[in-house]
Symmetry: C2
């Protein structure tokens, strides 16, 4: 059976990128690797829109996020963590584990953080850094990072952004918005298999490193090595080569074009879901361009049904949302026909499960929303 | 030009393993991945010869080693670290970075640690754990881990083994020798690209976890997830699938047969080096089955020459040995013709550089040493 990976991470990987994954292994200190590494690091800076170093780690995105925590957090320091879902909760747990005095700005899962709340919380209590999630993959909410960063900057705080599922899909203007640290991973909009984490690190963040012991995720060690086109520890050469190819594809399309495509993919997914009469869980807004979450009491049965009958992998809910939502990812190597595939399969399975869905309209609605919309 | 990767890591990867690397990405919580994951974890226990959990990390081998440090070291505790090369020094630096009171048992690079020194040092001063390197990749020395572990056990200390370049190449009897933690990586004798670290963790080690803050490399979090065939953070699915294939190849050959082959590869390499009149840096002994180091003032020129003329990548020296030795790796997907290729190329380049090498004998000596030796 033909398989479709339509989850928000790992995401489908283009064949050219898979070919790089399967190429013979080269030595990381040889001329076979260095030009690839140099180009990949340059492309990462371009995708992050920063002049700062983008540090690469052999790790998941969570590992790269841990690099921010162990470098920036000293025990007892106050940090403001904004949370509205699974990943926000993970960063609260992680900053707490490393001894930060964590000021939590918490929302119910599915709510959109309000930059004014960041501003007023910081007015009450200072924080060394504000930690925000750009795309909360667990709910489909994309937050206004630019506005939250502005609030943090006004208060003199550093800004750390979890852009794991958003980098390359929605705008993330690292330098223009004053984002001190932007963390991401290879396996989302960057169209590469999982195993590489990355963190852009501003000069201010590098200068603010704290006293928490660290070694593997130490920024200075990694930065020094990368500047000499080396790595402190054997890098995952196959993944770096694959990421380089994937970033080439992304930059050939152009970042603005990619952002535009993701907005339209989100519109298409939402239009289709609404047309067949299912209920959206993620916000019905353009910023929600990463993952579309659908509320359905039969979510687990639908996910299992599209998998068994059609070879399609969708994502379920996490935490309290388990069994209550299903999630269609649309980041990275996606076009509108991936959306129509997901919608058509959901429609058939939902109808067979006895849900009250309107037949024969979702695909057309999605195609029209994708085609006939202009992105501002 | 045809390329030959003859370094002690990354090592050449069999085509079947590369094919797994290049296969479409699957979701880590789907039925596409779970059986592969389950089999890979079982094979890892078989290769480590342990009934304990073998924990997988998206990291280099150094990351997996850091997992041992952050889980076992509490600030101020005394730990004995045995060092005779680059990696021993790295573990001194790492355990020190995490606040251990490090008792160093240091040897000159190229010396072989003496288990009696471990015994007498522990008699002078207790240690919570003894940290040893099985194969010091920087020098070609393979230490007697079994005897060192016995000395540690007598003193009631835990034993942590860096088996990054040795696991799968030389015997490492985790349970039979009482090794509490065995750390390795995918990119050496396990014939897989870099990016996966692993650590077997005994019940005693799991029970001895300390107070150092940790999250990404926390053993308990990883163990709990793995026992449910999950992972705490998105695992590098392509690397896990590739490792599973590689471990299948290794176990089809049989561990004893693989150990035997590595002994004979080492003998072949040393016989050839000596036959052409070059000087061995690594010990001329069967245990030295991972990498053969050759002392030569012209090491850099030879390495550069075989690369330019023949597409062969060898390794140079690290630290103070830079420019003084060259290293031929022979771990993993190697047979005797990889050794003769390295020797023939070194011979030609060395002769052209004006070194006093005997021509036409190294290849034959290597083939005979490989063929006509019986491993005890």
């Amino acid at each position: 059976m033909k398989r479709y990976l339509l989850t928000p991470g790992p995401t489908p990987v283009p064949p050219e990128v898979l070919a790089a994954m399967g190429a013979p292994v080269v030595h990381h200190r040889s001329p076979d690797f260095r030009p690839v590494y140099e180009r990949c690091l340059a492309r990462l800076r371009e995708v992050c829109r920063t002049e700062s170093d983008v540090l690469l780690f052999a790790s998941s995105g969570t590992g790269a996020f841990e690099s921010a925590v162990v470098n920036l957090v000293s025990p007892g320091e106050r940090h403001l963590v904004v949370s509205a879902g699974s990943f926000g909760e993970r960063w609260i747990a992680m900053t707490s584990a490393y001894g930060a005095e964590v000021d939590r700005l918490e929302y119910a899962w599915g709510e959109t953080p309000d930059p004014d709340d960041v501003r007023s919380r910081l007015a009450e209590r200072e924080a060394k850094a504000v930690w925000v999630v750009q795309s909360e993959t667990s709910t489909g909410v994309v937050a206004d990072v630019q506005a939250m960063a502005a609030a943090a900057k006004e208060a003199g705080a550093l800004v750390v952004v979890d852009a794991v599922s958003s980098l390359g899909a929605v705008p993330c203007e690292t330098d223009a918005w004053g984002l001190d640290v932007v963390v991401s991973g290879s396996q989302k909009a960057l169209m590469t298999p999982p195993g590489l984490g990355l963190a852009s690190v501003s000069e201010a963040a590098a200068a603010a490193c704290g006293s928490t012991p660290r070694f593997y995720f130490d920024w200075e060690r990694t930065r020094k090595a990368q500047r000499a086109l080396d790595a402190p520890f054997t890098p995952p050469v196959s993944l770096v080569a694959a990421l380089d190819v994937a970033l080439g594809i992304l930059l050939d399309e152009g970042l603005e074009a990619a952002f535009d495509r993701h907005v339209r993919l989100g519109r298409a997914a939402r239009a289709g879901v609404k047309a067949m009469g299912l209920e959206l869980f993620s916000p019905d807004e353009d910023r929600s361009a990463v993952v579309t979450a659908v509320r359905a009491a039969e979510a687990a049965e639908i996910i299992s049904g599209v998998r068994t009958r059609f070879g399609i992998t969708l994502a379920g809910g996490q935490g309290d949302l388990k069994g209550k939502i299903l999630r269609i990812g649309h980041i990275g190597w996606f076009d509108v026909f991936d959306i129509t595939t997901a919608l058509a399969a959901i429609e058939i399975v939902a109808a067979d499960l006895g849900l009250d869905v309107e037949r024969g309209v979702a695909v057309t609605a999605a195609l029209e929303a994708y085609e006939h919309t202009q992105v501002a």
